[in-house]
């Protein structure tokens, strides 16, 4: 067993989840099953293989350009209300579970 109940509690805390007793037990079982399968990756020697976070720099770009120059198309001038106007207050707040018409409202942030 790689993942213990204690690990699950710690990771749930990082992920802002609480999980019930039953959910935690199941999570121990499922994470161990999946990570057991994932272990096959250690068969591969990847010490000289660069990591790949995304695919956009592998194709469809001007190869004569380097670094951020290659992605120049993806940036734009930093102008006020550049691509579209910001949502008006009332629209931005319409899905809020709680608001006072100007701000989102949340429970107390700091316990005294």
């Amino acid at each position: 067993m790689k993942v213990t109940e204690k690990d699950v509690t710690y990771v749930a805390d990082l992920a802002n989840l609480e999980l019930t007793e039953q959910e935690r037990g199941r999570m121990v079982r499922d994470l161990n099953s999946i990570l057991g399968h994932v272990d096959s990756l250690s068969e591969l020697d990847t010490s000289n293989v660069p990591p790949m976070a995304q695919v956009s720099d592998r194709f469809g770009l001007d190869d004569s350009k380097q670094g951020s120059e290659r992605f120049a198309y993806a940036s734009r001038e930093d102008v006020h209300e550049g691509l579209r106007k910001s949502l008006p207050h009332d629209v931005a707040l319409v899905n809020a579970p709680d608001s006072d018409g100007t701000f989102f409202k949340v429970p107390k942030v700091i316990e005294r």
């Binding site: 499922d30 994470l31 790949m52 695919v55 469809g60 691509l83 931005a92 899905n95």
Partner: protein
């Protein structure tokens, strides 16, 4: 009007010639949905007001005798992970149960600008996480070809709606096979374009480096029309590529004779059901008879795709799903005394079991002490998997194989075994990791009359060639 086998061109031309109004066409689709969807469960929400307003606008154009756009009056459905202004969008999750988006997804706006009529929002696995649609917080989808079986996932509603003639064409999203696998299970065409080909603006994020929007359709030609409509640079998505969009429809009729078709032995190994194997081998023979040259290629790292994929995808998901905190939108738990409690209780109540499982796995893979061993390792293996394709594509134009190792499985069959469910994606996740385009097309059926799908991979931004091969195969059978 007979809605069976109704293609985009047939629907548009019926509207253009005045055989049926766009309004009446939309109404007949709604009647079909009302009668058939209760047993299938493809739709989560109908957008009648919006659809009928759009249809009326198309009818007004017809009346005035004006030139009609390419999708004029064509009824479409949208997977519920794409936001639609004023129309509830839930991503199949309770945490977004009451979310009314204030803006439209770019792909949806482009369809409507081309005259399409959006009938409603389609069922899917929660946050597009699943391979059977059983992770929808609302209801499962039943496969129209056999109601005891799953439609595939995560875009199960999008596939089922096309298969059951409850939309002419639909949009889905594909992070690890979520367009291609349900297309194969339901016997329709499903296309995942190249990463960057279609804007992701307005697609509720699951794993940003792997998420793609693409069409479901009855024919390769319809998929080509859909792609031509939604593809192209969008300033609202900085990862959308700044490359011209070819006329995919015009490319369909180019000859396939002489094309080099790769077959990777790794896609025909252990776990592939014999009936599926023989159907795909038959389809490859058919391509050979059309003059394609069949070339054996190797994608040697294929067996590492699932572990690499499930680390990368869940790591990105854990980060993307952190935004659901009960503050700006979505579900908020009642009675929490502090902000931290409110976050936790809202997320605990709002997310279903699979979303929680993936958040946990991803958070674990990114946490101190495990980052190098899991997340970084998976990213390095992603490079190897991508190189496999780059090497193979030096020798061939497309690569073909099965979309899924088995036809549609039974509802409930894999719900208690997440690993078995993940392994169902074995032939599809590689295209997401490498960002290459892939299409699934119907290629026969099993003895139990379940559809079998053939997958065709292409080079980056070469959707034209995979659509051409798909079209040629379709015409030949």
């Amino acid at each position: 009007m007979d809605l069976r086998n109704l293609t985009i061109d047939a629907a548009r031309s019926a509207v253009a010639k005045g055989k049926i109004s766009a309004t009446a066409l939309a109404e007949s689709f709604y009647a079909k949905i009302e009668s058939d969807d209760p047993k299938i469960g493809a739709y989560l929400m109908l957008s009648k007001q919006r659809a009928l307003a759009k249809a009326a606008a198309v009818d007004a154009l017809v009346e005035k005798g004006e030139k009609l756009p390419p999708l004029a009056g064509v009824p479409v459905g949208i997977k519920d992970v794409m936001v639609t202004k004023g129309v509830r969008t839930t991503a199949g999750s309770k945490i977004l149960g009451n979310y009314i988006p204030p803006y439209d997804c770019t792909a949806v706006s482009r369809l409507e600008a081309a005259g399409a009529v959006v009938l409603g929002k389609l069922n899917c696995d929660e946050f597009a996480m699943g391979s059977s649609n059983e992770n929808s917080a609302w209801k499962p989808v039943h496969n129209p070809r056999d109601l005891t079986r799953v439609p595939g996932g995560s875009s199960g509603g999008s596939a089922a709606a096309v298969a059951a003639d409850m939309a002419v064409t639909t949009l889905g999203s594909d992070t690890g096979g979520s367009i291609r696998q349900p297309a194969s299970f339901c016997g329709v065409v499903g296309l995942k374009p190249t990463y960057g080909r279609v804007s992701r603006y307005g697609l509720i994020a699951f794993a940003s480096s792997l998420d793609h929007i693409g069409p479901f359709a009855k024919t390769a030609k319809d998929a080509a029309i859909m792609l031509r409509t939604i593809a192209g640079r969008d300033p609202m998505d900085s990862t959308s590529a700044d490359l011209p969009v070819p006329d995919y429809v015009a490319e369909l009729d180019k000859p396939v004779k002489g094309l080099k078709v790769g077959v990777a032995k790794e896609y025909f190994g252990e776990g592939l059901e014999p009936e599926t194997r023989s159907a795909i081998e038959g389809a490859i023979q058919k391509l050979a008879s059309l003059g394609c040259e069949i070339v054996e290629v190797s994608l040697p790292h294929t067996k590492y795709a699932i572990p690499a994929y499930y680390l990368v995808a869940t790591a990105e998901a854990s980060s993307n799903l952190a935004r659901f905190d009960g503050v700006r939108y979505g579900h908020r738990a009642q009675g929490a005394r502090t902000l931290a409690d409110m976050y936790r209780c809202s997320r605990d109540e709002g997310f279903g079991p699979e979303a929680k499982r993936r958040i946990m796995l991803g958070t674990y893979a990114l946490s101190a002490g495990y980052y190098d061993a899991y997340y970084l390792k998976a990213q390095r293996v992603r490079t190897l998997l991508t190189r496999d394709f780059e090497n193979a594509f030096k020798r061939v134009d497309v690569i073909v194989g099965p979309t899924s190792p088995t036809p549609a499985f039974k509802l409930g069959e894999k719900v208690d075994d997440p690993l078995a469910m993940y392994l169902a994606d074995i032939y599809t996740v590689t295209a997401n990791l490498a960002g290459i385009p892939g299409i699934s097309i119907p290629a026969g059926q099993s003895k139990e009359k379940l559809p079998i799908g053939m997958q065709i991979f292409g080079k980056h931004f070469d959707e034209g060639t995979i659509l051409r091969v798909a079209h040629a195969y379709e015409q030949a059978v």
